[in-house]
Amino acid sequence: MSSDVQRRPAAGKGVKRPAGKWVFWLLVTLAAVAGWWLVYSSIERFASWLVYGALGMSAGNRLASAIAFFVYESPKVLMLLLVVVFGVGIIRSFFTPERTRRLLAGRREALGNVLGSLLGVVTPFCSCSAVPLFIGFVTTGVPLGVTFSFLIAAPMINEVALVLLFGLFGWKVAALYLGTGLVIAMIAGWVIGKLRLEGWVEGWVYATPPASSTAGPEARMSWAERFALGRDAVKDIVGKVWPYVLAGIAVGAGIHGYVPQDLMASIMGKGAWWSVPLAVIIGIPMYSNAAGIIPIVQALLDKGAALGTVLAFMMSVIGLSLPEMIILRKVLKMPLIATFVGVVGFGILVVGYLFNIVL
């Protein structure tokens, strides 16, 4: 799209933007943040009041400890989810696959892989459009390896997972997840690029003529529209995952209250070398239940499972998914899919062992 066409509707539409509107939105945001913080910071007091005060349970009781876990964790995680999903929705309103494609087209490899992974995190992407996106990328000069960096990072770094890790494990684990996820996407994409596997892409992909017409108006969005997109993201994502989150926290609460301390140390602890590959293998066929799995895993960690094993498990659950591979099979030949799984799986394995050794 020529920049000329792009500017015209924006100029026509957004001429008048009264300053009063800005103040209004700012006040609404501030009020919402203040209200949110007030509720968020009183959850812990409320939970202990409810369980040990109103219900009159004694502190050493197993049931009490399970209920207290649930009553505290569920509103906390749901509230974090609201804020982060809303925020990510707004950030994503600044990016479109089209703009990302333009940023990535013709990039040199190393830098392209870094950029591709980062854009994979912030570009709105649904795995059901993986195929048109893949073709749109590779036929317009985005290198195959860079495209893979994007495709690996997009599902692997998931805002719901990030929230759950932050809420249940703290910011350090959340940052580790974000950082290592990005590094895996960068390196795996770079390796796939170096292997020159273009021959394992289905032939018709490169035969597809690139877009003859440019698509979609890219009018400038107003802040009201961006807020609306954030709200839509909350409705869409939180509306879908909340039952899994609650179910996961409930199971976690059960483990928290009833599974004896250190039982997991022998199965998922640092000493068990096979726990990392096992976690990766179990994780691959599981899909989209990341929201429900993390609270369970948190409880396991509490009982002696090792952090690296837990991270590896989570990454393979959300980063390598069977449905996405089936979708990608349309454009990739089997050996390339196998290479993709192998390279990413290996990366996750290394991360798992690394954290078990370092921490």
């Binding site: 479109t96 696959p97 089209e98 494609r101 709105p124 992407f125 649904c126 059901c128 459009s129 195929v131 048109p132 996106l133 073709i135 749109g136 990328f137 036929t139 018709w204 597809t208 003529p209 690139p210 877009a211 003859s212 017409s213 440019t214 698509a215 979609g216 108006p217 979708i327 349309k330």
Partner: protein
């Protein structure tokens, strides 16, 4: 008027198709609604994220699942 819904067959794409028909019925507008699942056709039109809506050959949005009311605006060209 010719309306094409471009999609790979995911839940969102079907919802767009249904909502388009609903919007047309509510507006009492006659239009030909066609579902396009061929990926090469999508690429030809420069569409990389689905669902996308094409009205009379022009892509009006992609990668969205608008409400019936929003679809009415697209159909009426406002």
């Amino acid at each position: 008027m010719k309306i094409e819904v471009l999609g790979t067959g995911c839940a969102k794409c079907m919802s767009v198709e249904q909502n388009v028909k609903k919007a047309l019925a509510e507006l009492a507008v006659q239009a030909e609604v066609e579902k396009v699942t061929d990926i090469q056709q999508m690429i030809q039109r420069g569409v990389m994220s689905t669902p996308a809506l094409v009205i009379d050959g022009k892509v009006v949005f992609q990668g969205k699942n608008p409400t019936v009311d929003q679809l009415k605006h697209f159909i009426q060209g406002t």
